[in-house]
């Protein structure tokens, strides 16, 4: 039995390949760099008859997500993609999708947000939207991108979750970098991902009113239910990955990816493709006898507080490296990590925040080595540093 085919494709193309396998009914998207090649590949598939989806050329990102919600509201599986300015244009609809419990899947090409204008990758766009009620995953490489987007439909549509999912790829660094990827066979994906079933929809046989108002007496209950479902998603994600591993032979480690953290004294915590730059530094320092590690957070929502606590247990110093800053305070990933560790009474002696890569600023192996040196230094210095 054939177990997929090998392709030399970019992160964006891997997303398109995964989306096609998931058999969405409706795709509605608006072009923005560096997402464009995702929707271009999908358009080619539709034009060639290789993807039987309704493809809507919407006139804005707000309309893209609005159309996806409309399609989801009649029971269709939907997909959209955006980045940066476009993502922010659809924020009203993001809350709409999550509050309405519509399992839309979106790929976001992480890109800096104006002003100044910049088309390169940082993560301010998605990290500024952690409160929007979407599950957020961050891919490290093209294979994971494809696998994440296929899993995203299964997670989003799970009856205990019914929450939209955003799959983030670092702009250009991952979206436009080519790698060898295993593209699964359609028959295997069909076995993994059954057709979308829901009662949360308009139905000619059973008329429903959707998107209603709920006043002060009832509103909070809806929001609390949404929160509880997001918390359940952690378990559903792990179950989904296990099923995925059985079918496709690629096993994912859940909400975090801990690399040599078990006995580490110094750990860098980060998201996305920059982890690929940290790994060789960890390897090199380990070969010199240093107990260092990398903790890559794969899902920022639901937030893996227990997994982070466990991975960082026994560390002397931890540095959260992120491509994001919440102006006037600290990086958002740091805020989340700090809170989780503090609440668990498990904060390491030194917890530092490194802000870098904004607007696509390069982060090199040398930069990472310097961060580990900072962690090892007895004088912690400033908690928040721009590198």
């Amino acid at each position: 039995m054939s177990r997929g085919s090998r392709a030399f494709i970019s992160g964006n193309e891997a997303i398109a390949a995964g989306v096609r396998l998931a058999r969405p009914h409706v795709i509605a998207a608006y072009p923005i760099t560096p997402q464009t090649t995702v929707i271009e590949r999908l358009a080619e598939m539709v034009a060639d008859g290789n993807l039987a989806a309704e493809y809507l050329h919407v006139e804005s990102e707000h309309s893209a997500l609005s159309a996806c919600i409309g399609a989801s509201a009649v029971g269709a599986r939907t997909f959209t993609a955006s980045s940066s300015q476009g993502l922010l244009y659809m924020v009203e609809c993001m809350h709409y999708a999550s509050g309405g419990r519509f399992p839309v899947v979106m790929m976001n090409a992480n890109r800096s947000v104006a002003l100044p204008w910049n088309i390169y990758g940082d993560q301010r766009d998605s990290l500024s939207l952690l409160d929007s009620g979407w599950i957020q995953a961050y891919a490290e490489d093209a294979q994971e991108s494809l696998d994440l987007v296929v899993q995203a439909f299964a997670i989003a549509e799970h009856p205990e979750v019914l929450t939209p999912v955003m799959v983030n790829l670092d702009g250009f660094v991952l979206t436009h970098t080519y790698e060898l990827v295993n593209v699964p066979d359609q028959v295997d994906v069909d076995a993994f991902l059954p057709p979308f079933q829901t009662t949360n929809k308009m139905d000619p046989e059973r008329p429903m009113s959707l998107g209603f108002t709920a006043g002060p007496q009832h509103n909070q209950a809806f929001k609390q239910l949404q929160h509880l479902s997001m918390l359940s998603a952690g378990r559903v994600i792990r179950e989904t990955e296990e099923r995925f591993g059985q079918l496709f032979g690629r096993n994912y480690p859940g909400l975090v990816d801990a690399f040599l953290c078990e006995d580490a004294e110094y750990v860098i915590v980060t998201l996305g493709s920059v982890a690929g730059t940290v790994r060789p530094v960890v390897d090199r320092l380990r070969s010199m006898g240093e107990r260092v590690g990398l903790l890559r957070i794969r899902y920022m929502r639901p937030f893996p507080e227990l997994e982070i606590r466990d991975a960082l247990a026994g560390t002397k110093a931890v540095g959260v490296l992120e491509k994001d800053i919440s102006f006037g305070y600290e990086g958002t990933v740091f805020t989340n990590v700090n809170s989780a560790l503090t609440r668990a009474g498990a904060k390491p002696p030194r917890l530092l925040n490194f802000i870098g890569g904004l607007g696509g600023k390069d982060i090199s192996v040398t930069d990472i080595e310097a961060l580990f040196s900072r962690l090892k230094a007895s004088d912690a210095g400033e908690t928040v540093t721009f590198i």
């Binding site: 409706v26 409309g70 399609a71 308009m202 008329p207 108002t213 009832h218």
Partner: protein, 302 residues
């Protein structure tokens, strides 16, 4: 008068089913009548998309659901885009003989919803977009929209020492959607309900995008008796400030020429929002009306 539709429903043939019932609209609401009548024509296999505005605010207050057919509230700018999504989803899933119909107010259409409407028309998505025009943002308390007529008193265009009501006039939505080359467009009034019903029925058979602009008086915002809604809506047509027309097969069609117009003055002064008008202001409105009708009578087929 040219009949653009082959089928003409009589009042007795109209469905007895009520698809908009128990809602919390103001007594005498013109908009709610437009929604009620349109859904009678379109029937139970309708997916109604209703943006933030009067009709959604009064029809979906958990646990009281005023729509008896399938219905969903869209974001304020998103009526037409959500309609496009509903139509695409229904098509992909093989739902047959369904209508994706939107009920948006003038603000949700000509202002914040304009972009999405333009996009939907451009895509020729199979949707019916009905704008109920009560000439202001009524749901939020009677603020000026781009469909508020010149001189009208609203809460954001009050009558004061320096400015007397709205400074600008109505954006020509009918002509704008026609300029897109839309598959079908029509103007209507709840004062001529059977004409409105005929146009909804026609729209239900269009393989493409339909836009119906239905004039819907608001007693609360306009300052007239709740019992006068239909009379005011009829008066607007009879005095020529509103025309009943269609854009079909790429041509403008005038459905009704009143010939000799009823009094603009009486139409204006029967409503609180215009009661401050001076004779000069009334005359100015009349001149505008005459100029508009000169063009209509010259250019449009009737």
């Amino acid at each position: 008068m040219v009949n653009s539709s082959k089928k003409r429903l009589s009042i007795r043939e109209l469905s007895e089913r009520e698809f908009f019932y128990g809602h919390k609209a103001c007594p005498g609401c013109g908009g709610s009548l437009a929604v009620r009548l349109a859904l009678k024509v379109l029937g139970e296999r309708s997916y109604a998309v209703v943006p933030a505005g009067c009709m959604s605010a009064v029809g979906f207050i958990f646990p009281q659901m005023g729509f008896a057919c399938n219905a969903i509230i869209s974001t304020f700018p998103g009526t037409a885009s959500m309609l496009s999504g509903v139509a695409a989803g229904a098509r992909a899933l093989g739902h047959e003989n369904v209508h994706a119909v939107g009920f948006a107010g003038d603000g949700g259409t000509a202002d914040i919803g304009f972009q999405a409407l333009s996009g939907a028309i451009d895509r020729h998505d199979k949707i019916i977009y009905i704008c109920y025009d009560n000439e202001a943002y009524m749901n939020t308390g009677v603020q000026k929209s781009s469909l508020t007529p010149v001189g009208a008193r609203t809460t954001t265009s009050p009558v004061g020492q320096r400015l007397r009501g709205a400074v600008t006039g109505k954006k020509p939505m009918f002509e704008i959607v026609a300029a897109h080359g839309i598959d079908y467009a029509a103007t209507a009034s709840v004062g001529y309900p059977m004409d409105f019903i005929r146009k909804v029925e026609h729209a239900s058979r269009v393989e493409g995008t339909s836009y119906i602009h239905v004039f819907a008086p608001c007693p609360t915002g306009w300052g007239h008796e709740t019992s006068e809604t239909i009379a005011v809506a009829k008066d607007a047509v009879d005095c020529g400030l509103l025309y009943l027309a269609e854009y079909v097969d790429g041509r403008f069609l005038l459905n009704h020429d009143p010939g000799e117009f009823a009094s603009v003055r009486e139409y204006l002064l029967r409503q609180g929002r215009f009661r401050h008008f001076s004779e000069e202001e009334i005359a100015s409105v009349t001149v505008q009306r005459d100029a508009g009708w000169q063009r209509i009578r010259r250019d449009w087929k009737s």
